[in-house]
Symmetry: C2
Subunit: 431 residues, 2 copies
């Protein structure tokens, strides 16, 4: 829907869903002044817009924007998401070697959807990227761990496949993050054109000085300051939430692991035994030399074979459904494990602000220092809130998809077994 | 279909399926002489009849009959089955007491379908009946054991219900047996009119002298004698069959027991844990203070509850399907356990006949004795063959019904779970 608010009269033409930058909030009479994406400035009625704090992806400054949308509920500050979602495909693991074959390694091909041009990386490059992201962002953003390092058996096909799948999961999550995916180091990783560009970029990234708490240092003068007490309360909530979700995820992983082991172990064995028992009975019946035995004998054999098939279906099922549930929860476990440290950085900033009055009295810091500290806290708080909102929205999406997929596969599983048993049942005579 | 074979010409009118008694097998030219159930004697074309040895239920003599049936294959000697199958209902267990309440017991009501008049019996009366049947028939017929005696907890409702069910199974099997069900002692047990008749009948049964091998002593002069070597071969087959079926039944019982324990133990627990894990995740998500959480939260709760329901379905399933399979196999285990002793009696008779020539030479027995022994062996062999055919036909019926029922319940089980999961799945949003 296009709304034209009498453009001749200094009013702006806007589309539903369009993002506007607030240029003057104090026009009054129900109007605000804003700039649209084409650079035009004009008036927009307050009723038609939703004010949202969107954190610009450069991350070093925060800006207040208007968001024209009727339905969306208010979630507080959010990152500014790019129009096109970055993603990449990790594929085609190849064995490479160095030093005349003395050292060999696995190289993965990563193709971003933006350039569609593949780049190659070894696990150790992913690890280097991870280190850079932690160094730069871990104060503000939880950076989930890479899939585990493994030394022995790392060339085994099964392991390579699993690692690739996990690297894909990690990369997709990083791509989905508007701050991380837009950072120089991440862009370098995905888009370098040659070895020279890669090496230069690497050196530059390693020398990056805007890392850690420094990323909060450029302060947006436009944003309203937040009350430290309220901020503290919010952090307490985030802390509690991520802790209890961490426990819940661990519980799911534990029971999933148990169930996996049961399906591929005792249950498979048991269904095989049931299958064997029916087939043995059939063999015995076959030796009776009694006529009219044929139908029952055949039906019992079919029943036995069906249970043997069920044994394999049961044992194969976790790979089909539980696997995805476990992998995603595993990923979330890693992600949730990062929150305490990230939140601790923010809590330390609150403590510092709390101390500030006392420090001013003691002449340890100036009044100006104190104001900067308070402003800093607000910036950090906006960032953490945006990050939590990012986390929540991803979490809802991921878990919805995850459990939905799990249930779909479970339904298929039970239906397949029911079908197979029905077929076996059809072999019996109704007497 | 009624066949009239020119009745004016000494030919008999017979119905399809009618049982005829062979009066003269040596008419020649494709004809035999037979008597129908109305006592008329006449000629019947050999092509239209199936010669079958049917063992008359009085059991002390064996008679050759003609059986007019086109489809039925040849199974050798069979018992003569009554037109109406005897059956009974064991129900309504009541606590009774004796000696001014010092001794209490459970009395069951048994109602035969013939009189529809209930009689009461305690477990010890069943036991008395069992002892009589063993004494009289165990040489020729395997008499399956009664359900176990149990001293402690025998008034517990669960135990009484189980015992009643097993007594019902035992009684039904006895009723189905044409020789046992027609015996005086069994008829007394089902039909006595008062305490006096019961006590008199009991005394008479306990004094019965035609027991053990004596039941074979009245010899039918009409039946062709059987070759001891062929008889021995048959016994060897019976022996092998019952032994291997015994093993197979024990295997089914063992795996059934294992599966039962798994369903009511670890599997139930595990599905409950899965249910709890989903519900806990839902509770955690509920504390996020993030909007648009509601649908997922509700869906996760529904998923958790569904798995909790599945836990109870899984734990309750063995009672629904495995129970019947186990009970019947348990019964067969008891029955099969009787065969070695029964067959041993028959094998001893073969050994005796094998020795006979030697004994005649040694003047230990007369030539007449030897002929009687051989005739005796034939009679016994007809009886055992009839019994094996009875066993086979019941076995085929029982196992067909048994596994059919088990599979039907298993199909329902898997379909129910699939349905429940589908319902839970319906709560998720497709994003």
């Amino acid at each position: 829907v296009t709304h034209m608010f009498a453009p001749g009269n200094n009013e702006l033409t806007v589309q539903e869903g369009e993002i506007l930058t607030l240029t003057n909030q104090s026009i009054g009479s129900g109007w605000v002044e804003a700039r649209n994406s084409r650079g035009n400035v004009g008036l927009v009625p307050e009723d038609y817009i939703e004010v949202k704090t969107i954190l610009i992806i450069s991350f070093v400054f925060v800006i207040s924007l208007l968001y024209l949308e009727h339905i969306m509920g208010e979630v507080g500050p959010v990152w500014l998401y790019p129009q096109i979602q970055l993603d990449c495909v990790v594929a085609d693991p190849k064995k490479g070697s160095k030093m005349y074959g003395l050292k060999s390694y696995i190289e993965y091909q990563i193709t971003p959807n933006t350039t569609n041009r593949p780049v190659n990386h070894r696990y150790k490059h992913f690890d280097w990227l991870y280190e850079r992201l932690v160094e730069k962002f871990a104060c503000a953003l939880p950076i989930p761990c890479l899939p585990d390092k493994q030394v022995t058996g790392r060339f085994e096909e099964e392991f390579i496949k699993m690692r690739m799948e996990r690297l894909q999961g990690w990369m997709s999550r990083m791509c989905r993050h508007p701050v991380i995916s837009n950072s120089d180091v991440f862009q370098l990783f995905l888009n370098y054109r040659d070895e020279k560009e890669w090496k230069l970029g690497k050196r530059k990234a390693e020398k990056d000085e805007i890392v850690g708490v420094k990323i909060f240092s450029n302060i947006d003068p436009e944003l309203p300051e937040l009350d430290p007490a309220q901020v503290e309360q919010k952090y307490e909530m985030y802390s509690q939430f991520t802790r209890s979700m961490d426990n819940s995820v661990k519980e799911l992983l534990a029971v999933g692991h148990l169930h996996w082991k049961r399906c591929t172990g005792p249950l498979q064995k048991e269904y095989r035994q049931i299958g064997k028992a029916f087939q043995n009975l059939s063999s015995v019946f076959n030796t009776s030399a009694y006529p009219r035995e044929y139908t029952l004998k055949e039906a019992l054999t079919a029943t036995g074979k069906t249970y043997e098939e069920i044994a394999e279906i049961v044992a194969g099922q976790p790979k089909k459904d539980l696997h995805f549930l476990m992998e995603t929860n595993h990923e979330y476990k890693g992600l949730l494990g990062c929150f305490p440290d990230t939140i601790a950085v923010h809590k330390a900033a609150i403590d510092k602000v709390k101390e500030a009055d006392h420090l001013v009295v003691m002449n340890k810091i100036s009044q100006q220092d104190k104001l900067i500290m308070e402003k800093n806290l607000s910036t950090m708080s906006y960032a953490l809130q945006a990050e939590m909102n990012h986390f929540h929205s991803n979490r809802i999406y991921d878990y919805n998809r995850l459990v939905q997929f799990y249930l779909e596969e479970q339904v298929k599983f039970y239906e397949t077994i029911a079908e197979k048993l029905k077929k076996a049942l059809g072999q019996y005579t109704t007497m």
